[in-house]
């Protein structure tokens, strides 16, 4: 049981980084698969709502492995939360805590703020923005960019692909603008 106790401790960023990086050769060695999770969203569209759109007419079943992979992510996160203390309170930088307090967010008991991520917010402006609009931007943006953090920032950069560097810089630019301009504005409006 020593090993479980060892894993249950909070992980240093370098440990997390190495293990995420090792997923790249792991998938290549398992079956010449390239890490890229946003593709599963396209597969689900192709399977469920193809609607005669040419973008969804492709052999999505050939990529079935990726659906198994994301199902595994869901199970793995559940296991981590249940057995590996994965949902424990985290340290949050004092400067960020200060800003979040101004947003009226003070609950650090889990990895996501309960004040936002709960079903009771679903039919509110907060829910519309953080779940529906946020999710739409992820799905639309990643497909338009031809990949997400895993496909471009981890896999693409690892393989020295310059288009992935352009994509990663744009992910970061969008994120900086969002976190420092849009999100403060959203909370100012929500808490008004």
């Amino acid at each position: 049981m020593q090993i479980i106790h060892f894993i249950q401790q909070p992980w240093h960023w370098a440990v997390g980084g190495v293990l995420i990086g090792l997923t790249v050769p792991l998938l290549l060695l398992l079956g010449n698969k390239t890490l890229g999770i946003s593709s599963t969203l396209r597969q689900i569209c192709a399977a469920c709502f193809p609607a005669d759109i040419s973008f969804f007419k492709y052999d999505w079943k050939a990529q079935a492995w990726n659906l198994f992979f994301v199902a595994g992510i869901l199970i793995g996160a559940f296991l981590a939360a249940t057995f590996l203390n994965g949902n424990a309170p985290i340290e949050v930088a004092a400067a960020t805590q200060q800003r979040l307090q101004a947003y009226h967010l003070t609950n650090y008991s889990q990895l996501l703020p309960a004040e936002i991520f709960s079903w009771s917010n679903l039919f509110t402006w907060k829910g519309l923005i953080f779940f529906v609009v946020g999710g739409f931007l992820i799905g639309f943006g990643t497909r338009y960019a031809g990949g997400c953090t895993s496909g471009h920032s981890i896999m693409g950069l690892s393989n020295l692909q310059w288009p992935s560097l352009v994509a990663t810089i744009c992910f970061m630019a969008g994120g900086f603008f969002s976190a420092n301009v849009i999100i403060p504005w959203i909370f100012q409006w929500l808490n008004a």
Partner: protein, 151 residues
């Protein structure tokens, strides 16, 4: 909607062939949680430049991946069942700029990219299922407009 059951078809027919990817996914899911990269707070810190954590994780991840791919290429390493390893190159188009900016905005709002969406649901934040459905909707709308968007 009944068509959605089609998603299950390859799961039925190729279960044994694909089970290894399920296990790889479980490993990746545990790592995403324990490295806290699925934390909404960590994403805010990254974009507010108040902590090094996310930069450390992604930076070390890229370096590890880079070394691994170099080793695989240099020594011509094959897959476990002896197939050659080939990695398709990424082609540049303007989508990486426009789409990248759009996704970045969503990343900071939700605190998640596509992988972490699945992990956040597994973590117990079942309401993220709505975010995932909306992301599928966003991908669908991209497919609908694909030809009209600048690339």
């Amino acid at each position: 909607m009944a068509q959605c059951l089609r998603v299950i078809q390859p799961i039925n027919t190729n279960f044994m062939k694909n089970i290894k990817y399920l296990i790889a996914g479980i490993f990746f899911g545990i790592v995403l949680v324990k490295a806290q990269v699925i934390s909404w707070f960590r994403i805010q810190e990254m974009f507010q430049l108040t902590s090094f954590h996310m930069y450390g994780v992604i930076g070390v991840g890229v370096i590890t991946g880079m070394i691994s791919i170099q080793v695989i290429k240099r020594f011509g390493i094959k897959t476990f069942d002896g197939q050659p390893i080939t990695i398709p190159p990424k082609k540049f188009d303007k989508g990486q700029i426009f789409g990248g900016l759009i996704f970045g905005i969503g990343w900071a709002i939700t605190g998640a990219c596509p992988g972490p969406l699945f992990a956040q649901i597994g973590l117990g934040f079942t309401v993220v299922l709505i975010t995932l459905l909306s992301a599928i909707g966003g991908t669908w709308v991209y497919g609908l407009w694909e030809k009209k968007l600048p690339h």
